[in-house]
């Protein structure tokens, strides 16, 4: 199977990978929106969406549970966006107005390709990461491509030719640029630590996970524990970068009606929506890789030893099969992403929203100095430790 895939022309491989991304991320992002509605409802003491069901499914055992969980609402929502009339306001710049949601999708889906999402056991017990494009510049590629997402907000706000979207997009662009800095500085210590002297330097995300799966106390410690400040700054910046409450200045529905997407409706709006969730998924994924040990189940329990123990406990060699290992690792990784996303939602439905100037003040006056100090402290500490 794998041989067959790698035997295909490179271009065809790329197309297939791209289709795989869309097929996986689009429903996952949509499911996230459903989860958001459900989590929000639970936090607010409501049942949430629990009515929708396909007429044919009624009466099939087990479907009632899915109905109450709102699973079918997901389909209903998606279909609604697809079949709704798409009015384009007369005052917009049609080309850029249409282009903006498309551009929003591109970086969101491109970053997915460089995020390793699992691993399988190769020959001789080595752990080989699974990703669509295993780039050496991993984290740089994520940052570089993700920051292109601003263009969609700016374009949407500008092309809408309307005042509230304009204010929203101006806010968003300033905010995204401000928080990018702290975010980048926050992850630098991780890579300083990972690229110890004598090793071949790499910014690959898989390498960070590999580092967190080493033997011994320090080897198995997640960076969340060794670099809590970095993790904190990264998490806060992630909220700001993905325009999530309490930093959702770009939308800020209380004062800007809908922010940059005020003039959008139907499927174009849904594209923004999916892009936001795709960004969140990627962000949560990067957070899990950098600070939560990637596909290792628990701190000090690397994937390889987990599978080894399972093999010993059950006596089945099945656990060592590359496919099983891959599935287990992907499941662990996705569980971590989901847990992180839950925190995103939890915060959104609990906290009020900052004001725009407060967001900027936090970004420049609190987070940036903190991340610089953090970087300096860790640089010196790592230099002393690894001398």
């Amino acid at each position: 199977m794998a041989d067959f895939f790698f035997g295909l022309p490179v271009l065809l491989q790329a197309v297939l990978k791209g289709i795989a991304v869309i097929i996986v991320i689009f429903p996952v992002a949509a499911a996230c929106s459903m989860a958001e509605r459900k989590v929000c409802a639970w936090i607010q003491g409501r049942p949430g969406p629990n009515r929708t069901i396909f007429p044919l499914f009624r009466g099939i055992p087990g479907m009632g549970v899915l109905q109450r969980l709102g699973v079918f609402q997901l389909v209903a929502d998606g279909l609604k966006f697809l079949f709704k009339e798409e009015p384009t306001p007369g005052h917009v710049n049609k080309l850029y107005y249409t282009l903006a949601p498309v551009i929003a999708m591109v970086p969101a889906f491109t970053t997915v390709t460089v995020v390793p999402f699992g691993a399988y056991l190769g020959s001789a017990g080595s752990v080989v990461p699974l990703s669509l494009a295993n780039l050496d510049i991993g984290i740089l590629a994520v940052f570089a491509v993700a920051s292109l997402g601003i263009y969609s907000l700016i374009l949407a706000g500008w092309a809408s030719n309307s005042k509230y979207p304009f204010l929203g997009s101006v806010r968003a662009s300033a905010q995204l640029i401000s928080y990018e800095l702290s975010m980048t500085l926050a992850v630098l210590p991780v890579f300083l630590w990972v690229n110890e002297p004598g090793s071949t330097g790499s910014l690959s995300l898989a390498r960070v996970v590999e580092f967190q799966s080493r033997a011994g106390f320090w080897g198995g410690t997640w960076f969340l524990f060794t670099m809590p400040v970095s993790a904190f700054i990264f998490a806060v910046a992630l909220f700001a970068e993905t325009n999530r409450q309490p930093f959702d200045m770009a939308e800020s529905e209380a004062d800007l009606v809908g922010g940059f997407h005020t003039e959008y409706g139907a499927y174009k709006w849904a594209l923004f929506f999916v892009a936001e969730y795709a960004n969140m998924i990627v962000g949560a994924g990067v957070f899990a890789l950098l600070f939560l040990g990637g596909w290792n189940l628990l701190p000090w329990v690397p994937l390889a030893s987990l599978l080894g123990w399972l093999h010993h406990a059950t006596g089945s060699a099945l656990w060592l099969h590359p496919l099983v290992a891959g599935i287990v690792s992907i499941a662990i990784f996705i569980a971590k992403i989901l847990a992180t996303l839950f925190v995103f939602m939890w915060v959104r439905w609990t906290l009020p929203r900052f004001r725009y100037d407060q967001v900027m003040r936090i970004g420049w006056q609190k987070l940036l100095p903190l991340s610089i100090a953090n970087l300096i402290v860790y640089t010196v500490a790592i230099a002393l430790m690894q001398r």
Partner: protein, 408 residues
């Protein structure tokens, strides 16, 4: 707690704005998520700083005052529901007391107690919505859902008492529509018991929340002098440090018997207005529980005033005299002496006043409504200058107005 972006430096901001660039004019409302109905603010922005704010009102004008001249006194009661539609029971009461004052009619203590209890329940319901909407305005959605859960319980009680959840039309001139149902007071008391901890839980989400305090403390500061000069009333006035509460100062409907505190703010900012409303809900619970504890027996309407109060229905169907009385009241309206009267009640939003001029007969010759929301909004052009766009939302939320009452 002073914050670095407090109100006073707004003059500097405006000067900076005026020295520089082009301004953007933007219409906030009448259909905007945070203008609480159909208020429209014509804003002039320099970047995100507001340099000018003109409130435009009247999108919900129905001519209530003129309508009142064309119907009997009791027929106007449903229109009072639609003034401050978040506290219809309190409006019903204020209107009824105003007309009763014109007729120099005393209602029995039981009726007074019923009115006081319902008015305080209306106050809780109105403040809960004000608080929840304020939460949404600053981005805390969950607060709104929590407060709505409590309001739902109140609405159930309203429905049981009046037959309607929202537009209660409960008062009649000289009494109330019907007596309290069996066991209703016990259920109100049970609501009060469970309400206080729930209220604290909701307030916990906001009161010490750093983001909420950043958004509201020092924003929209109204000084004591300004508050008086602009005719503010209710929680907005008290938050500025003026301990004016008509329930204490000019007691009506038996409020003098109840022991409660007037909550007063110190700084007059949005945060203080929030705290004052929160405290008022606790005090309302106190009043309700006292009123229930000393709930008087006896008549629930001034039945002896035969030209004003309708007879009981069972008598109408069996006795000739009551049938005629009922017929006359329905066709001619409650008979009032000529004269004019002004009465203000402490409503959740502020002092709701009715000025009634009568030339005798069953129809008011002129009825003027002093709407607290209208007066409270008059300070907006002064308040909304030099703040940021998002602050306007926080200020509007903290003023807690209702356009149904403002536009009448």
């Amino acid at each position: 707690m002073p914050t670095e972006h407090a109100f006073p430096d707004s003059a500097a901001r405006i000067a900076r704005a005026e020295a520089g660039a082009e301004k953007m004019s933007i219409s906030m409302g009448p259909s905007h998520p945070s203008t609480h109905g159909v208020l429209r603010l014509q804003l002039e922005l320099d970047g995100e700083v507001v340099t000018k704010a003109d409130p435009v009102i009247g999108y919900l004008h129905r001519g209530d005052e003129k309508i009142a001249e064309n119907m009997t006194y009791n027929q106007f009661v449903p229109y009072t529901d639609r003034l401050d539609y978040l506290a219809p029971l309190a409006n019903n009461m204020a209107y009824a007391i105003a007309v009763e004052k014109l007729a120099k009619l005393e209602v029995p203590p039981r009726c007074q107690a019923i009115r006081a209890i319902t008015a305080e329940m209306a106050r809780i319901s109105s403040h809960l919505l004000g608080l929840g909407a304020f939460g949404i305005d600053v981005g805390a959605w969950t607060v709104f859902m929590y407060t709505f859960t409590e309001r739902e319980k109140l609405y159930k009680l309203f429905e049981e008492l009046t037959g309607a959840r929202f537009t209660t039309s409960y008062s009649r001139i000289g009494g109330v529509a019907r007596d309290v149902p069996e066991g209703w007071l016990g259920r109100v008391d049970a609501f009060c018991v469970q309400f206080l901890p729930n209220l604290e839980e909701v307030l916990n989400l906001l009161t010490r929340n750093k983001i909420f305090m950043d958004r509201t403390a020092g924003i929209g500061v109204i000084t004591k002098e300004d508050a008086i000069a602009y005719g503010l009333t209710g929680p907005n006035l008290r938050a500025s440090g003026v301990a004016l509460d008509l329930r204490k100062d000019k007691p009506y409907s038996g409020y003098e018997q109840y022991d409660f505190d007037v909550s007063v703010g110190t700084r007059g900012d949005s945060y203080d207005r929030y705290l004052v409303r929160a405290e008022e809900m606790r005090q309302s619970v106190r009043i309700i529980r006292q009123a229930i504890a000393m709930f008087p027996p006896g008549k629930w309407s001034a039945e002896d005033a035969r030209k004003i109060v309708a007879p009981r229905k069972d008598k109408v169907l069996t006795s000739m005299e009551e049938l005629i009385q009922n017929f006359m009241l329905v066709t001619e309206g409650p008979q009032m002496p000529p004269g004019e009267v002004y009465f203000e009640a402490e409503n959740p939003k502020g002092a709701l006043g009715f000025y009634v001029v009568s030339k005798g007969g069953g129809v008011p010759w002129r009825l003027k409504i002093r709407a607290p929301s209208f007066c409270n909004l008059s300070i907006l052009p002064k308040l909304c200058v030099g703040v940021m766009v998002a602050d306007i939302v926080a200020i509007l939320g903290s003023l807690d107005f209702v356009m149904g009452e403002c536009d009448r």
